[in-house]
């Protein structure tokens, strides 16, 4: 448990907390970007460099921007009347706490059952590439299809509807 870990964990968690607790939506978007960044660094620390960079590229570079765009297009800058939290926020809190409790208990109860190896894996981009087109070619292709469909679908869904002549 290096201190780096604690730092990065704290950063991530703080960003996450901030993103769900802040009032202004734009602030939430920025906070979630921080959380994404923290996670990317955690990946880097876990010797998953490709995943970390992918995280930065995709999440911070695309998803966060998307979120900002969506906030922009839905006038998220206006503060809603009646508060940002729903009426039954306490129940949500309880449920989230329960979920964490269960998962935490699961982790702690089974920690001894997981064999641990501490050697640093050497992963090159070449390995990832050959894995993608080798063992994981099917998921790759499906993913390509999925991305295509998602792109087209998102465009259509969000498009301005032309007024249909009646």
């Amino acid at each position: 448990m290096t201190p780096i870990f604690y730092l990065l964990a704290a950063l991530t968690l703080a960003g996450g907390l901030a993103s769900v607790l802040l009032k202004h939506l734009v602030h939430c978007a920025l906070a979630v970007t921080v959380a994404f960044a923290g996670l990317a660094l955690l990946f880097l620390q876990l010797d998953a460099q490709f995943a970390g960079f992918a995280q930065i590229l995709v999440y911070i570079g695309a998803v966060a921007i998307l979120i900002v765009f969506a906030i922009l297009l839905t006038r998220g800058s206006d503060l809603p009347k009646g508060g940002v939290f729903s009426k039954t926020w306490f129940l949500g809190l309880i449920i989230a706490a329960a979920v964490f409790a269960v998962m935490g208990w699961a982790v702690l109860a089974s920690v001894s059952a997981i064999p641990q190896q501490n050697t640093v894996p050497s992963v090159t981009v070449h390995d990832i590439g050959s894995a993608l087109v080798g063992r994981y070619v099917l998921p790759l292709e499906i993913l390509a299809l999925l991305l295509t469909a998602a792109t087209i679908g998102a465009v259509i869904v969000a498009m301005h509807e032309k007024a249909r002549p009646r």
């Binding site: 448990m1 870990f5 964990a9 968690l13 993103s19 769900v20 607790l21 939506l25 939430c28 979630v32 959380a35 996670l39 955690l42 876990l46 998953a48 995943a51 992918a54 995280q55 995709v58 999440y59 998803v63 998307l66 979120i67 969506a70 906030i71 297009l73 839905t74 998220g76 809603p80 508060g83 939290f85 729903s86 926020w89 449920i95 989230a96 706490a97 979920v99 964490f100 998962m103 935490g104 982790v107 920690v111 997981i114 064999p115 501490n118 894996p121 390995d127 990832i128 894995a131 993608l132 994981y136 993913l143 999925l146 991305l147 998602a150 792109t151 998102a154 869904v157 969000a158 301005h160």
Partner: protein, 108 residues
Amino acid sequence: MTSMMTTPLAGYLLVAALLFAIGLGGALVRRNAILVLIGIELMLNAANLNLIAFWRYGPHPEALTGMMFAIFSIAVAAAEAAVGLGLVIAIYRHTNTTELDKIDRMKG
């Protein structure tokens, strides 16, 4: 801190669990639809963290399973975010609001 007595893997897992819980809480508590999506992204990220942690500290990391899974998950999450936000925009256009309490046309 409880993570003192645990392995590094357990620490990552706990962080992921906490992040997940935060994301879930956000999705459940906030009114705005976009924030629900943000919460969902956080949950997905927590799951990614879990995967990478298990890849790093589990047996056979040279099989790249965890890493692949995480990469795919990232890609899928991006696609899902795109579509979801597109939906939110479309709903906003129709109902002029992003408050989930007001969007209950699927009421049974």
